[in-house]
Amino acid sequence: MKKLMRSLFTIVILCCLVFEGCSFDKEQSDHSVEKTDGLIRIDNIPEYSGNAYIVIENNNPSFNKDDLTTISFETYSELDKFGRCGVAYANAGRDLMPTEKRGGIGQVKPSGWQTVKYDNVDGNYLYNRCHLIGYQLTAENANKKNLITGTRYLNIEGMLPFENMLADYVKETENHVLYRVTPIFEGDNLVASGVQMEGYSIEDKGAGICFNVYAYNIQPEIKIDYATGKSYPFDTMPRVNAAAKGLVEIRGNSNSMIYHGPKQSAYEEMADSKHLVIFHSEQEAIDAGYRKAKR
């Protein structure tokens, strides 16, 4: 749980070249990404605020120039020592698309997998075996290098819309789309915090498809321990137990190093923050280097 509440995390993604080819002049709301010598650093991914995905890098993906080809391919990373998936990368073409319906994938247990049901989750199951590269694009069925533990929300609201857009574009145009999905794990966590998805249509130089987004692996109203995959209904989290024991819960923001008491304005907002650190007294927060919020 401590890791879950840790402060902002930094994601470093190796890339060889940053495209500028599909940027538009119009202003667009996005989240800045530092670039230094071929490295992309995504600092301070904003907390989930109601949108299943956010635009990063002004929607410009970072692909290797050598991959701008009209030959389809698909690659999947080896699992790491924790059994976690890495980058899945494809040049999606019509020839990779499935010719038959998807088979069962229940035999795969991605890292952090838990079978758990909630009444307030669409379909009841909190977790889906989320394809990094969707089945409709490369027909990968029960490939353990392509399946992560993802919430229903990530699967349906975060990833599926982009897979649909790619798949329908490829079917309609017979063009190719470079598509890379990078699961983002914080520290040794077994469950990804989210996924970065990048897409770029080859033949029309990004005129049809061009995006770079981060989708949150969250489920509204459910608290997830990303270290283990365990989950809790939001209202029965430890803070309730603390209240039952007569303890005060002080909510610290490890990003700003500010703490909030129960009667302060941002106290409720902090409950679902990924920067949340819980203290049981103000002194405990102060001792940890936090200062009290002004309002």
Partner: protein
């Protein structure tokens, strides 16, 4: 004016200045429906119809200001709300898919619009496209 748009399950129209999807059968349906009538569209949309050799299509970036009663406007990347009073009929093609979106249909159909016709057809790359026609 009669406005033609395409939307996804969430009323989305566009993402990152790009249309969410396209379909040759849908384009043919628009051409057949509008027939001889003038159809206005902007430069971005016009490239979609380049294979049809259309004589009734007019490129006009201020199409919503230009179009008159009975004339068609094919809209992909504009807000309709400021022009709602000038729209006499809405033709909405639904992809029956969920796509990413950062521009949505901003007219509330529930409030002032009545559906008078609906039909479904299979597209070239979409299993089912629904065409709905609304009037005030």
């Amino acid at each position: 004016m009669i406005v033609i748009i395409c939307i996804d399950d969430n009323g989305g129209m566009l993402f990152n200045y790009r249309r969410q999807s396209k379909d040759r059968v849908l384009l043919k349906d628009i051409m057949n429906y509008s027939k001889e009538k003038t159809v206005y569209m902007n430069e971005y949309s016009y490239e979609l119809f380049s294979g049809f050799n259309p004589k009734n299509l007019i490129v006009d970036d201020k199409l919503l200001d230009t179009a008159r009663i009975g004339e068609y406007c094919f809209i992909e990347d504009m807000s309709l709300l400021p022009y709602e009073q000038q729209i006499e009929k809405l033709i909405i093609y639904k992809w029956n898919r969920r796509y990413p979106a950062d521009l949505h249909l901003d007219i509330s159909l529930k409030d002032r619009w009545k559906m008078i016709d609906i039909e479904e057809f299979k597209g070239s790359s979409h299993e089912k496209i629904t065409k709905e026609i609304y009037i005030r």
